[in-house]
């Protein structure tokens, strides 16, 4: 009798040598290869830490006025110097950074929420697609900066009365930026949802009687997370620049309430005498935005499965 035939080696599955990776581990592995993104992330977190933890370590209050020490250059007592009222520039930079980054994060969340909602609804429900996308097109053809300026000017007094000067203007600027910057997210999300909707797993989920709500929250949303995350990073950068631009034009936060844009605007008045004063807030804005842009760039590569495989 013949022996039992040798199993054909090519058809046997090789034992996996490494334990299986989760998807996020793969994303992180790809993200690590993008050096700019790593540096960007690091710088962004350093700025966040400096701005939010710094005030505890640095004893001088941002609003403390020391008239005898005004218009000073850099020294050990005031590393960034002092302004025309003797307030410490370092402390004001940290306080301003808190507001600027807080505005950036909140406005981004609002824009992202609105954009994802519109995008998912337009992609998922065919009847809503036409009207919602026309609305998006309409918003895209509005001249945004002039409208932002008008909105801030119109509603400032009303909201100041309702919430107090600082919280009022914060709400106003966050809402104004959020309402005028959700459109790109909505378009990207709609495109992805349209493609996802035709996939088999959605059909399978639907065939076992999943309701629309569960279909969206459990199956669609997790799959469109990656474009949403990329537009989130770009949204923060955008919101910080817009807030600074508004403050720079004198239509943002009130004068004694520092933000980076406001500090830059205050410094331009003393441009002839103290030109170094414009440097720090401008550098802070640029560095934050640059690091976020690099972070977004790396995230886009890491979350793209076509690039990740290579």
């Amino acid at each position: 009798m013949t022996d039992a035939p040798e199993p054909i080696t090519a058809l046997t599955d090789p034992e996996p040598t490494a334990p299986p990776h989760s998807q996020w581990r793969d994303v992180w592995d790809q993200f690590k290869t993008h050096r700019g993104a790593l540096i960007g992330t690091f710088i962004f977190f350093v700025i966040m830490a400096a701005v939010f933890v710094g005030p505890w370590l640095w004893g001088i209050d941002a609003t403390f006025i020391d008239v005898r020490a005004r218009n000073q250059g850099p020294s050990w007592a005031h590393p960034f110097g002092t302004d025309q009222l003797g307030r410490d520039t370092l402390a004001r930079m940290m306080a301003g950074g808190q507001t600027s980054i807080a505005v950036g994060l909140t406005a981004m969340l609002l824009a992202l929420g609105l954009g994802s909602l519109v995008g998912v609804l337009a992609g998922f429900f065919r009847r809503l697609d036409g009207p919602l996308m026309r609305l998006t097109d309409l918003f895209l053809s509005l001249p945004l900066l002039p409208l932002l300026l008008v909105m801030v000017l119109l509603f400032r007094e009303t909201l100041n009365g309702a919430f107090g000067p600082e919280k009022g203007i914060f709400i106003l600027i966050v809402v104004a930026i959020g309402v005028t910057s959700w459109m790109p997210t909505a378009r990207i999300v709609r495109g992805d949802v349209l493609a996802l909707k035709e996939r088999e797993f959605i059909l399978a989920a639907r065939s076992i009687g999943t309701t629309n709500y569960n279909l969206i929250t459990r199956h669609i949303l997790p799959n469109v997370m990656s474009p949403i995350m990329v537009s989130a990073t770009l949204g923060i950068a955008n919101a910080i620049i817009t807030e600074s631009a508004l403050s720079f034009l004198g239509l943002g936060f009130p004068p004694d309430f520092p933000t980076w844009g406001r500090l830059l605007n205050d410094a331009t008045v003393y441009l002839q005498d103290y030109p170094e004063r414009v440097f720090w807030p401008g550098l802070a804005i640029s560095l934050t935005v640059l690091s976020i842009n690099y972070l977004g760039d790396g995230l886009r590569d890491a979350l793209d499965p076509r690039i990740r495989g290579r």
Binding site: P146, V150, I241
Partner: protein
């Protein structure tokens, strides 16, 4: 293609009317009173007459339709009158600015040249710098030039104009004293000296605005070139024995320009929006500065008209971009 263009243009009309309505209604909520700066000694009934003379006092919808009539019918007639010396408008009331007490369009026409000079020049300069950078970075991908170019465009993308503008003023006007920091619009170019002066005062605003344009467009150019460089037709062209110059600058470049040209068209209205800030920094009294002062002075007809003109630009260039895309790319058929 023609039917598509016509369809888009017709569709743009309701969009623009709606945008105009949105801007008008938003401005309707404005708390300010145009009579606020009139002295208190003026009696109330005279004030009431002044309000009526400004076109106030009628209900909102009537004023909206009046604005539309004035903007879309009377202003073009005035324009034709000015062009051919006819008398179509016949002294009809035009859109009046509250702060200048003169027709809005007259002020806009006064401010237009400064903005156009600075903005248009910066856009042209920006595009001209961006294209070679994009082409060469893509051709030598991951080379030192590419790395540096990517970093510089990233910086140009991230540094807001209100910082780069102030920074160049500090360096070139305050420290070195080479260039004037304020744009002198009364300057008339008559000879070589004034031409040089005009050139000197234009350098900084143009370069600041161009930096933004360059950053965006060179990134697009690079990505688009990279997409095309690996295509089969490029290998075919090389296999035919065409020179590298012909392959890259003719075959690849022409195909890569298709998306880039639409991006350039889409960027035109944006650069007008960005000019608002740049004009504020360099004290150019152009349209952007006009808009800011109008917003601060509560000059609603002016704000409405200028904002609406920006909206027209956006809608128009969106159509231009789509039509260009169809004309340039034979794979795209709209009909």
């Amino acid at each position: 293609m023609l039917t598509y263009t016509i369809r888009r243009l017709v569709l743009a009309i309701p969009t623009l009317l709606f945008i105009s309505l949105v801007i008008f209604l938003l401005l309707e909520l404005a708390p300010g009173d145009p009579m606020a700066e009139v002295p208190l000694t003026v009696p109330p009934e005279v004030k009431e007459k002044m309000r009526l003379a400004l076109g106030l006092g009628e209900p909102t919808h009537i004023r909206f339709f009046k604005w539309m009539w004035q903007f879309f019918v009377i202003e073009p007639m005035v324009f034709i009158d000015w062009l051919f010396g006819t008398d179509l408008a016949g002294g009809e009331q035009r859109v009046l600015s509250w702060q200048f007490r003169s027709p809005v369009m007259d002020v806009v026409v006064q401010r237009m040249p400064q903005t156009l000079w600075v903005v248009a020049m910066s856009y042209v300069v920006g595009v001209l710098i961006a294209l070679p950078i994009g082409i060469y970075s893509a051709y030598r991908q991951y080379s030192l030039f590419d790395q540096a170019g990517t970093f510089i465009t990233m910086v140009g993308y991230s540094v807001p104009p209100f910082f780069s503008g102030v920074l160049v003023i500090v360096i070139f006007s305050v420290q070195l004293g080479w260039l004037p920091s304020i744009y002198d619009t009364t300057l008339v170019v008559v000879d070589w000296a004034t031409f040089k002066q005009q050139l000197m005062q234009m350098v900084m605003p143009v370069m600041v605005l161009a930096l933004q344009t360059t950053a965006q467009i060179s990134r697009f150019m690079r990505a688009s070139m990279l997409d095309n460089l690996n295509q089969d037709y490029v290998r075919t062209a090389r296999a035919k024995g065409l020179s590298e110059m012909t392959v890259v600058m003719v075959h690849v470049l022409r195909n890569s320009m298709i998306p880039v040209i639409t991006v350039i068209a889409l960027g035109v209205p944006q650069i007008f929006g960005g000019a608002i800030i740049t004009e504020q920094i360099f004290k150019v009294n152009g349209l952007g500065q006009l808009l800011i002062t109008a917003i601060q002075a509560n000059d609603l007809p002016m704000v409405h008209t200028v904002t609406f003109m920006l909206a027209v630009l956006i809608v128009l260039f969106n159509i231009v971009a789509d039509v260009l895309y169809g004309v340039l790319d034979p794979r795209i058929r709209y009909d």
